[in-house]
Every structure is written in structure tokens, then in C-alpha cells.
């Protein structure tokens, strides 16, 4: 597309109307405009996972072919969820609608749609809760904020709960910690009970169930891809790194998001991992069965999340490793940090993770037994176990994007920054309202990174893109570094649109560039095959 056209289109897209419409949010009216919503799950994949009510339908269809007793199913499901989750019950009851969250959502900032204010998003569900589960709502109905459950409400839920990336930013500002992520998860559980779900979640989940990874890469293709990476590293460094796959008795099982070995710019992060592990002589293995750290089941339901997550511990047990190391990924780390041990633990067949290189015991992971690669690498650098040449990243003026889940669900803020400062000379932070715990989402998380909803994704990514634009104009930033596979997939598109000229890289790509390997040849190109320009 011509540059000028993009600029004009962008200006059009950003003519955002933040005024609120008359009549409030009560009428459940949704227009399924192309580019704003995701397509329905294909029957084949829904069947593969034994999901309820697989059928051919699309959100823009008038008739969603809901099961006959859909209302009963939803209300009954709601009752069960209220009994299972204190968070749900509490968050339905205690919101005071103070509006502290209202302007904190990237989708609200990008669309101006008042139903994207987190409080209203939650009210879409809360109004039905009040109508059917509180006596005030049953008696006073609309006056008490109760709303009938109709098919239009279901359509509205679909639209807005698949327009939330579960990033938890709004919860940070809530005086009661009401977490829209929890509410969105509950709404999606309910929608799934009547077979309303989206392709970009169900298909990867189904692939992951069958082949071990979201992309559906079978074992031999997995091996070939990684071998290709080994060749590429050899071309760049002159060193042939080792590639252990499905090896029994290794000390460490390494699990990364599948995008790392199949997408770009993730690919260069993969090269970074392989080089680092080779250089420090880590006794580790990849697995084809557990070849996915991410978990799209988690965006679907508790149960599917658990079903997919089970592979990691099962494989660790089968391969008799001592502990598990995890790659750069966002929601993968939400699941591992806050859910895995509960879902599929106890992992008492593993040891408390201990770095074989530095001897550091990662006691903060002593129950789950899984360590984030940033924690691992930061520890290596801190102990001076690897030699780095920052100058090899001199062509980059870098900023760091905190991925939502590692930031707000783990508190992994300093380790990546420490690594970044050790591997590059030019690092500038974005404005403080947009980093660390206040980080802005990429707009494509929680299973929304599809193509058909590109307008919504661009709008959701716009606040982050504009923060990047600020540091680009101010410091000449030309690279955004991040530690999430979805970020790496979505930002190149978002930036091309809003801040052309800013590239995206994983942290371990920069580590790989800076890493001085024993016996390597003079590096003329970086991991992208572009000339290294040491200033």
C-alpha cells in the first residue's frame, strides 16, 4: 500500500468518538461489522476436542443455531460457576461503578465504544446475574440493573468478551481488584457451553491436543525446522550447536511457544536460545510431545486449559528430567505461574530447579519447578558465566514492552531489563504510564490474534503503538524488544500501520547477537542475516 494512503487511513481510523450514546448500555445491540470480530470455530476441530454443540455457524449469521435449551444451559452454568469461583461471585456483587477502570482499557482507547469500558463489559454479564441470581433483580428488574437473558445478549457477550485480551490492566486501577480477565473467562466458559466459540482459539487448541503444538507441527517437521535453525546458526557463527530432542535423562526440559520455531521474528529468538544453551553446555532437551508452552485452551475454558497443560508435566516425567525451563511467552507464563501446579501438579517427581552453571537454586519456583528463561539468563549474566558484546546490537535503539501476563501476573519486570542492559547499549523506556505493571496490551492476546478481526486488533494495539511512537520520535527507537510470542506476531503489523520503521525482536535474539561463543568465527551478520555495524 502507498505510504500516503496508509497515513490517511490511519487518520480516519483514529477519528475516535469518545462520546457516550444516549440510552445507556442496556439495549443489547451489536452490529457485526467485518474486521471487528472473529469467526466461529470449525466443526472438525470442535469435534476433535469433544466440545459441546459443534455446528456450522458464523457471528454475522442471523441465526446462530443455538441449542434449543440454550438459556437453561447458560443460567445453569452460571449457577455452577458462581459456586466454583469466589472471584466470580464477589466481582458480580461488589462493583460500585466508580469508573476508575473506564478509560484504562486499550480497546476502549482504540474504539471509543463505551461497552469496552471494563466496568460496562462486566455489567453485560452482571446485569444477567442480577436478574436471575439476586432477589433485588428478580423483583425490581431493570430498576435494580437486571437484564433479561436473550439471544441478543448472547451475541453481545460474544462480541465484547472476544474483544477483551484478559490483560488485567483495568484491575490494577480497581479499588477492589475486580479483574475483568476473570469475568471474561467466566463469560467465555458460558458461551462455550452452548457451542459459541472462535476459530482462532479452538483450532490451535485442537492442534495442540493432537500434535503437541498449536501450529499442528508433526514430530518430523519439528525436527527439520530446528535442524534448519542449527544450519543457520552455523552459517552465522561457524559453530554447529547441539540439538537434543526427546532425549531421556536430560537435566532440563525446555518448553517454548511453538511460534518460536515457526514464525518471524520469533525465529531469531529461537536461534538465541539454541546458541545460549550450546554455549553454556546445558544438559537439556526439546520435546515433540510437549512442543508448546502456550495454551489456547486457557482462553476457552478451565477444562481445556488443563487438558492441554497436562502434557508438560507428563513429558517431564517420561523423559526423567530434573526441572523445566520455559521460553519467552506471555499467557504461557500466566498458566505456568498461576495455574499449572494446581491444574496438573504436584510435580514431586522433579527437583527444585537449580542452575547447573551457576548453582543458583530458584527457590521461588520450588513447587512448580519451572523457571522463566529471563530468570535463568539474568542469573547467568549476573554470575559472569557468559561473555557478551553489546556493540553487536548497536544498530538497534531499543525499547522494552512488558508483556501483560509476565508483568501483572508474575512480576517479572527487572530480569528482562537487566538482560537488555547487558546485551545492548541503547535502551530507552517508554512513558511510565505505559510500562511495567501499567503496560498496555498488544491488542491481540487471549486468542484474538486472527486476521478477520484486524480492525479491532489495530485499534487495540494503537495505545501501545503510540507510546512506541513517542520514544521513536524522542530517542530514535527502532526496535521494540518483548518476551511474548503474541506480541512478536502482532506488533510488526500494528507498527507498520502506526509507527513504520520500528522492528520487533525477542530478548534472546539480542542475547544471541551479543553472545561471544567459544571458537566462533568473526560475526559479520546478526541473527537476521543483516550486517553487524559496530560503532
Amino acid at each position: 500500500m502507498q505510504r500516503k494512503e496508509v497515513t490517511e487511513e490511519r487518520q480516519d481510523l483514529l477519528k475516535i468518538d469518545y462520546r457516550t450514546p444516549r440510552g445507556g448500555w442496556f439495549p443489547p445491540k451489536v452490529t457485526f461489522k467485518r474486521g471487528t470480530y472473529c469467526y466461529a470455530a470449525p466443526v472438525k476441530h470442535a469435534k476433535n476436542l469433544d466440545l459441546p454443540f459443534p455446528r456450522e455457524w458464523q457471528p454475522h449469521d442471523l441465526d446462530w443455531k443455538l441449542p434449543e435449551n440454550w438459556k437453561e444451559i447458560v443460567l445453569d452454568g452460571m449457577k455452577r460457576l458462581l459456586k466454583k469461583y469466589r472471584s466470580f461471585k464477589l466481582f458480580m456483587d461488589i462493583c460500585v461503578r466508580c469508573g476508575a477502570c473506564a478509560d484504562k482499557c486499550h480497546f476502549y482507547m482504540g474504539t471509543g465504544d463505551p461497552k469496552n469500558m471494563p466496568v460496562v463489559r462486566a455489567e453485560l454479564l452482571r446485569s444477567v446475574y442480577r436478574r436471575y441470581f439476586t432477589w433485588t433483580g428478580r423483583i425490581f428488574g431493570r430498576l435494580a440493573g437486571g437484564r433479561e437473558l436473550t439471544e441478543d445478549v448472547i451475541k453481545e457477550w460474544f462480541y465484547y468478551f472476544y474483544q477483551c485480551t484478559e490483560c488485567r490492566r483495568c484491575a490494577l486501577f480497581c479499588p477492589f481488584g475486580i479483574d475483568t480477565c476473570e469475568i471474561t473467562m467466566m463469560a467465555r466458559e458460558l458461551l462455550n457451553m452452548i457451542g459459541v466459540n472462535i476459530q482462532w482459539i479452538v483450532e490451535p487448541a485442537s492442534n495442540s491436543f493432537r500434535t503437541g503444538n498449536h501450529l499442528g507441527v508433526p514430530p518430523h517437521a519439528f525436527k527439520e525446522t530446528l535442524e534448519f535453525a542449527v544450519d543457520e546458526i552455523e552459517n552465522i557463527t561457524g559453530i554447529r550447536v547441539n540439538l537434543p530432542i526427546n532425549r531421556k535423562g536430560a537435566e532440563v526440559l525446555f518448553v517454548a511457544p511453538s511460534a518460536d520455531y515457526f514464525a518471524s521474528p520469533h525465529w531469531y529468538t529461537l536461534l538465541g536460545y539454541l546458541m545460549l544453551f550450546h554455549e553454556i553446555g546445558l544438559d537439556y532437551t526439546w520435546s515433540t510431545f510437549a512442543s508448546e508452552g502456550g495454551n489456547f485452551g486457557f482462553f476457552h475454558s478451565f477444562e481445556l486449559g488443563k487438558r492441554l497443560n497436562a502434557k508438560i508435566y507428563e513429558e517431564a516425567k517420561r523423559l526423567k528430567v530434573r526441572w523445566i525451563l520455559g521460553g519467552e511467552c506471555g499467557h504461557m507464563w500466566r498458566v505456568i505461574h498461576q495455574y499449572m501446579d494446581t491444574l496438573n501438579g504436584p510435580a514431586n517427581f522433579l527437583d527444585v530447579p537449580r542452575s547447573p552453571i551457576t548453582g543458583t537454586v530458584f527457590s521461588h519456583a520450588k513447587s512448580t519447578k519451572m523457571v522463566h528463561i529471563c530468570e535463568f539468563t539474568a542469573d547467568l549474566i549476573h554470575h559472569g558465566k557468559i561473555t557478551l558484546d553489546r556493540r553487536r546490537n548497536d544498530k538497534w535503539i531499543v525499547t522494552f514492552h512488558d508483556s501483560c501476563n509476565p508483568a501483572r501476573s508474575m512480576g517479572l519486570l527487572e530480569e528482562p531489563r537487566y538482560i537488555l542492559r547487558s546485551v545492548c547499549n541503547n535502551f530507552y523506556e517508554m512513558p511510565e504510564n505505559t510500562i511495567r505493571e501499567r503496560t498496555l496490551c498488544c491488542g491481540s492476546g487471549a486468542g484474538l490474534g486472527s486476521d478477520e478481526n484486524i480492525e479491532t486488533r489495530l485499534r487495540g494495539g494503537f495505545p501501545r503503538a503510540y507510546a512506541v511512537r513517542y520514544v521513536k520520535e524522542r530517542y530514535g527507537v527502532n526496535l521494540l524488544c518483548c518476551i511474548c510470542a503474541i506480541d512478536k506476531a502482532t506488533f510488526p503489523t500494528v507498527f507498520e500501520y502506526f509507527v513504520p520503521g520500528v522492528e520487533v525482536a525477542g530478548l534472546h535474539e539480542l542475547v544471541g547477537n551479543a553472545l561471544i561463543m567459544k571458537g566462533e568465527k568473526e560475526r559479520r551478520v546478526d541473527l537476521r542475516g543483516e550486517p553487524i555495524d559496530v560503532r
Binding site: L90, C98, K248, A378
Partner: protein
């Protein structure tokens, strides 16, 4: 009629309040917390040389208590208040703490007012209540002294109400009940002010009424101003509806799983009480489909004899 208003209503509202709050808290407590899902707002306690932010990412129960206290007492999350504005090709964030300021003002002055009212509940009046009252009346403006808390409480209430009327976003998210509660609070404040400053009521009689209620030997005072009736009625109504409206947040704030759990998710195992086995794809099933190719590619550990 007098008896109904002055004796039955207070008892009834107190009963509704207590039973309602207890039933609410019990109903929340009955639903378990299946996962440890704290919302973290600072660096986790990880490597020994990385400076952890213990208040924002509590590594133990003690720090959780501190985190909750700062939340309940200082409204720390509201203190983060920010807003954004889109100006041409720029997105500008700025701090905005009015909501924090006025809600803190509202709640604190309400606390002072409640404590001040304790002088009707105890004989002799506790020292701290007298002290508080003296402090509250530090600006001797009129007689009887206009107390600071009264002024602050009423103005904070007006702010909160006008916000819901004039702020477009706040108006959009408000429900009828949000206004009802604010108006009820306002009516408590105004009738209180009126019966204190303009239509003076015999405070000794009121104290006898309250002490009588407390000792279950109801005493009906002879002559009280109609504004006191309205004051008491508003208070009773407020207390009665608390458990069934959003005002119940007062009981819920400490139970929020995103705030009252330590960030020790990988350190200690959290148990899900309703966990159940799910259908997984086992390695055997996987091998049944991919065994041949794995064997051909040397990817089968058993075949390789690791």
C-alpha cells in the same frame, strides 16, 4: 407510630443489616478460590540480587495484610488514577486523582462522623470520642461549632453525585441504584445538619433513646424534632439496604482473590477443591499416531535407547 419509628425501625434495620452482611460474606466464603491469582503490581521476589517490591508483589501473608491495609485505608489503587486524551496524532496520559481524593475524603469523614456518634452510645463518653470531637471542631465557626467532618463529608458527597451527573463516562456506567444510595447518604447528612444546627433537638433525650435501645429497654423520648425522625429513618433505610446493594463492597474488599493472595504461585502449591480428572491425550496415544515417523527420524527415545 412514634414507637414504630424510634424503636421498631432501628431494631429491624440493624437485624437486616447484620443478617444480610453475614449471609453475604458466608455466601462468598462458600465459593472456593480454586487458583492463586494475585494481581501483581511490582517486581516478584525471585533472584536474591533482584530488588523485590514486597508490597506490590507480596511474598508472604504478612505482606498481603499490609497490601490490603494500604488498599482499605489509603485506596492505593485509586491513587494510581490516570486518564488519557487523544490530541491529534498524540496519545497523552496524565495523572488524575480527584476520584481518589474525594472518595478518601468521603470515607474518612464518614468514619469520623460515625465515631463522633459514639457519644450517644456510651455513658460516660469515651475519651477518644471527646478528643476527636474537639479536633473536628478546630475551626470554631459558629455555635454550635460546625464540625470539619460534616463539611468535608457533605462536599465529598456532592462531588461524587455531581460526577455521576456531569461526567459523561460516570453517567454512562451509573445505574439508578447508584443515585439512590448517594441521595440516601445526602439525606442522612442534611437531616443530621438540620437537626443539629437549625432545628435543635434535645440531645439528652436522644441519648436516652439510644441507650434504651442498646439495653433492650426501649425508651420513647418526649419531644424530638421531625428532622431527627428523618435522620434516623434515612440511617435505618441505609443500613437495611447495605447488604443488598453495592455498598456491600465494604465487606468484600478484603476477600478479593486478586488482592488477598500472596504471589507465591510457583513457590507453594495451591489446591483446587473441585478439581476433577479431564480427558487428556497421553503419550501412548500420541505415539500411536506419530510413532512411525518418530522412529524413522530417530525421535523415539526408547528406540534410541537413551
Amino acid at each position: 407510630m412514634k414507637y414504630l419509628l424510634l424503636v421498631c425501625f432501628p431494631y429491624l434495620s440493624l437485624f437486616l443489616f447484620l443478617s444480610g452482611i453475614v449471609s453475604r460474606v458466608v455466601s462468598w466464603a462458600k465459593s472456593p478460590v480454586p487458583f492463586r491469582i494475585p494481581l501483581v503490581s511490582g517486581q516478584e521476589l525471585s533472584l536474591p540480587w533482584v530488588k523485590a517490591s514486597r508490597l506490590e508483589s507480596p511474598p508472604s501473608k504478612g505482606w498481603v495484610v499490609l497490601r490490603l491495609l494500604t488498599e482499605a485505608v489509603f485506596f492505593r489503587s485509586l491513587l494510581r488514577g490516570e486518564t488519557f486524551r487523544l490530541k491529534g496524532e498524540r496519545l497523552i496520559f496524565s495523572n488524575r486523582r480527584y476520584l481518589w481524593f474525594f472518595s478518601l475524603l468521603f470515607h474518612l469523614s464518614m468514619l469520623v462522623i460515625i465515631l463522633r456518634h459514639l457519644r450517644f452510645f456510651f455513658e460516660p463518653v469515651p475519651d477518644f470520642v471527646l478528643f476527636l470531637q474537639q479536633l473536628d471542631g478546630i475551626f470554631e465557626l459558629s455555635h454550635p461549632t460546625v464540625l470539619l467532618s460534616t463539611v468535608l463529608f457533605t462536599s465529598a458527597l456532592f462531588y461524587l453525585l455531581s460526577r455521576r451527573i456531569f461526567d459523561e463516562r460516570a453517567r454512562f456506567v451509573s445505574l439508578p441504584s447508584d443515585y439512590v444510595i448517594l441521595l440516601l447518604l445526602l439525606s442522612v447528612a442534611i437531616t443530621g445538619i438540620l437537626s443539629k444546627h437549625f432545628f435543635r433537638t434535645d440531645l439528652v433525650e436522644i441519648k436516652r433513646l439510644i441507650l434504651g435501645l442498646l439495653s433492650f429497654t426501649p425508651y420513647v423520648p418526649k419531644d424530638v424534632s421531625p428532622f431527627f425522625y428523618l435522620h434516623l429513618l434515612s440511617v435505618c433505610l441505609l443500613f437495611a439496604i447495605i447488604p443488598w446493594t453495592k455498598v456491600v463492597h465494604m465487606a468484600g474488599i478484603l476477600m478479593s482473590p486478586t488482592r488477598n493472595l500472596p504471589n507465591t504461585s510457583r513457590r507453594e502449591r495451591h489446591i483446587n477443591p473441585w478439581d476433577y480428572p479431564v480427558k487428556v491425550r497421553t503419550y501412548e496415544e500420541y505415539k500411536k499416531e506419530f510413532g512411525e515417523v518418530m522412529k524413522a527420524q530417530g525421535l523415539d527415545a526408547e528406540e534410541r535407547g537413551d
